[in-house]
């Protein structure tokens, strides 16, 4: 090809990936705002620190080792050597590091208001430096799952489920916040610990949705792909359908349309379409998103009321469970009509069971990998540094106990738990 054309093609892809990476970076703000909004005022600064630091620590370790494990091979630790003309390498790293950071930060919400800050720092090192890169390598780094035909376009499993399962084991091993599940005789009474700032939570969801255009559409990894717009459309429709699905479900179950559940529903729809945003039709996207919105409400309820696992922001349901749904949905809704990119075809489009089974294998493998490694990690942390703050510190709030800080100085806040 003409070298000028090649240069332009590369340039388009470079600005596309840098801009979409910036959008995905911005999702960090979204996660922070959602988590702050859905927890208590006395933990807000701790949440800020966790969200800032899982990115900071994660970026450094992903530069040092994570990237090399996932894509680069041994000679690319620290992105070495620094030779010119590595634009393509840097553009890939830039786009990938923000995905690693997304997986890492998902966990923060589920472990909110009771995790030791030092333990969280160590956790961040391991998820971004090892756990995420290994399973990421299998699926996106030309590893065995990708060769099996497993399709996860933008990371319902690679990113979201990894975060979701690490959140699940974390919340289980930590135990619930004091006062969340109260033993009354034989029964366990489930109590609400309401979030303190719905406007910030909503802002966070809008920021996440905004960033998701980078997350999904950027995952074409090619600025000249003609499927970019389709991906964006599917993302939009699934998020919208997810919000509606959760709103209706919460209305039905609780008698009124619930704001924080509807917000979760939008995220659920977005997580749900992440794997299939390229291969689904727009109708498929609407259905996938809508079902994700229904699932998330039932899942939150099940985890809270039946399993009694305290996940303040619903991270396990949104990212773990809906990540699974989205990944499996590829095996159902792939249209088989993405000429030039992929020819996978799902059950509903006459592709038979094959793809669904492959998707299931990927889901299961990642589940076991993450559960196994994170259980070891958290149990190790429990043993070495301690995983959870003391009861008095939890009562006082992590802002004061972990950081000597207060988040809303001067505001009168009434808190009896």
């Amino acid at each position: 090809m003409n070298p000028e054309i090649t240069l332009l093609t590369n340039s388009i892809t470079m600005i596309w990936l840098v801009l979409t990476a910036a959008l995905v970076f911005f999702m960090q703000a979204g996660f922070a705002m959602v988590e702050i909004g859905l927890t208590r005022a006395k933990s807000a600064s701790n949440i800020i620190m966790k969200n800032l630091m899982d990115f900071a620590v994660g970026a450094i370790i992903y530069w040092a080792v994570g990237w090399a494990i996932m894509y680069g091979g041994l000679k690319e630790f620290f992105l070495m050597p620094d030779i010119p003309g590595k634009g393509a390498l840097f553009q890939s790293w830039m786009f990938q590091v923000v995905f690693a950071a997304t997986a890492a930060t998902i966990v923060s919400g589920a472990m909110a208001e009771r995790t030791k800050f030092t333990a969280y720092l160590v956790y961040s090192l391991f998820i971004s430096g090892l756990i995420y890169p290994v399973s990421g390598h299998w699926i996106w780094g030309d590893g065995w799952l990708s060769r099996l035909g497993f399709h996860d376009f933008a990371g319902s499993t690679v990113v979201h489920s990894v975060g979701g399962w690490a959140a699940l084991t974390g919340a289980m091993i930590l135990g619930a916040r004091k006062g969340k599940y109260v033993k009354v005789g034989q029964e366990v009474a489930v109590k609400a610990i309401p979030g303190h700032n719905m406007p910030l939570a909503a802002l966070g969801v809008f920021i996440l949705w905004f960033g998701w255009y980078g997350f999904n559409a950027g995952s074409t990894l090619d600025g000249t792909s003609s499927y970019i717009a389709l991906v964006a459309v599917n993302t939009t429709l699934a998020g919208a359908a997810g919000a509606i699905g959760a709103m209706i479900t919460s209305w039905f179950l609780f008698g009124k349309p619930d704001p924080s559940m509807s917000l979760n529903g939008a995220l659920a729809g977005l997580v749900g379409i992440t794997a299939g945003c390229l291969v689904a039709s727009t109708t498929g996207a609407v259905i996938i998103g809508f079902i994700a919105g229904i699932i998330v409400v039932f899942s939150v309820r099940f985890i809270d009321h039946v399993l009694h696992i305290d996940d303040p922001v619903g991270a396990v349901s949104v990212h773990g469970i809906c990540g699974v749904w989205g990944t499996l949905a590829v095996g159902l809704f792939a249209t088989g009509r993405r000429e030039g990119v992929t020819d996978i075809r799902g059950l509903f489009y006459g592709g038979g069971w094959h793809q669904l089974i492959v998707q299931f294998i990927g889901v299961a493998v990642v589940f076991f990998w993450v559960v196994a490694t994170t259980v070891v990690l958290y149990m190790g942390l429990k043993w070495v540094t301690g995983l959870r703050v003391s009861e008095e510190d939890e009562l006082l709030g992590l802002d004061i106990s972990e950081h000597n800080a207060e988040s809303y100085y001067g505001f009168q806040i009434f808190q009896n738990q």
């Binding site: 109590k191 309401p194 179950l253 609780f254 619930d258 939150v300 809270d304």
Partner: protein, 113 residues
Amino acid sequence: MKLIIAYIQPQKLNSVKQELYREEVYKMSITNALGCGQQKGYKKSYRGVDIEVNLLKKVRIEIAVNDNFVERTVEAIIRGARTGEIGDGKIFILNIEETIRIRNGDRGGIAIG
């Protein structure tokens, strides 16, 4: 000198103030309170978990008055706050032994107004 403590519905504060002004009671202090009484609370829920709210928002008014002002003050509060519904509130009257105006050290009945 008496200390009149009244708990009223927040939305009645403006009309109580107007009635008090009409009686030439211009001095008072107000705080936020949460009240628990005969008035039924309401049910809130958060992410599908019900929350029984039985501490309802009230406004607490404190007015120090000389003895001859007590009745008209009480009447004014009642006029401003009454709807006839449960939750209208209560008035408690306590004895004040001494009142001091910080600005100039005035004591007693003269310091009240």
